[in-house]
Point group: C2
Chain length 208, copies 2
DNA sequence: GTCTATACTGAGATAGAC
DNA sequence: GTCTATCTCAGTATAGAC
């Protein structure tokens, strides 16, 4: 039955989100899903492939929304550059919105960049989006060199990942309305960072 | 022998750094160190406790340097607030410097915030430093509310962690002289973010 | 094509002899 | 303090039932 595959996907997604990828065993998943152990390897081949399918299922709509939002802002800008804040909003909102609704989503997606592994998975599912947004940022911040821009985009990813998979000690999670405050804080912080004066004098980059 | 304990510590630190914590087995460690499997459990109790000891050994001098640098800057400021850039420099330099010398250090320390994340370990070893630096930031940025400040400090940690455990695709690592360029970029980006105008306008959380 | 039962290898942990 | 032997549980692989 294809129902089996869906049940594995749903259950694994939930457990990975709650406990993390490494801490969740396949036997836990099959017990909760009520399926056989070998069914996982029949449908997915390996634990890592299972994770890959889950990521894909989650990332695809997020990335689509991101691109749609960015394109809408670009249309509104009518050929001119889109403001940094808008670009960040387009990039962050679809992800944060899901975290707000489903907390399990946060750990799962946030950990992708942290759990050490699967840089290949991240690369595969998010690379084209990153390229698209870096291009928009380059137009918004023409004074930054490509190298500088790449690093700043990298910093943005790091902040987002950390925000999605952890939280400040004292404060509540990203759930519910809190998420929108966090989004505002993120956009403010990151746009401040992106707009900071470049550190390099173009060309040599050695003197400060 | 005490030598056994040291040998385990050194070997495990190297292997954790090279392959990550989860991907390194105790049997790998004992083979490389030339000791018995049970010796690890005798001296450390568990794999996680072993990691904890390694972290402690590494984190202690880093944190001491951080506090020393901060205190030096505070003395130079003569009672007044220390500039945001200086605070960031004091916080980031000791860690980045070690990454520059020992790349294995990066994966190990950077992953603490991402991998299966022993929040207890991080909490234990870095909490007092975080409090100290947050205090300095509060004096440097008096216009920010405590909540806003906490979030921004959280964003700083995220950016640093991501930078220490990953790297932009095209670019080289943090090794050697590259590290100082990265440090400059980090300070520029993060100070821009920290200095951004506060986002709080509505009264829902300002009064607390 | 799907799924079940079962076996295989290697992981971390532990008890007890020395 | 150290080591051997052993336990449990992980991910994986395969043979065969429907």
């Amino acid at each position: 039955m294809i129902e089996t595959k869906q049940k594995i996907l749903d259950t694994a997604e939930q457990l990975f989100g709650e406990q993390g990828y490494g801490a969740t065993s396949l036997r836990q998943i099959i017990a909760a899903a009520g399926v056989n152990l070998a069914a996982i390897h029949y449908h997915f081949g390996s634990k890592e492939e299972l994770l890959d399918q889950i990521i894909l299922r989650k990332a695809e709509p997020v990335n689509r929304e991101r691109l749609e939002m960015l394109e809408r802002f670009e249309a509104e800008a009518g050929g001119g550059p889109v403001a940094v804040e808008k670009i960040l909003e387009a990039f962050l909102t679809p992800a944060i919105a899901r975290v707000a609704v489903n907390p399990g989503f946060s750990k799962l997606s946030g950990r992708l960049l942290g759990e050490g592994l699967m840089p290949a998975i991240v690369e595969k599912h998010f690379r084209h989006v990153a390229i698209r947004f870096t291009g928009a940022l380059a137009r918004a911040l023409p004074e930054l060199s490509p190298v500088e821009l790449e690093w700043r985009g990298f910093f943005v990813i790091g902040t987002m990942a950390h925000t999605m998979c952890s939280k400040p000690q004292t404060n509540a999670s990203l759930e519910g309305m809190e998420a929108w405050k966090v989004l505002r804080r993120l956009v403010a912080f990151l746009s401040g960072g992106l707009r900071a004066p470049a550190t390099e004098t173009s060309g040599t980059e050695v003197n400060r």
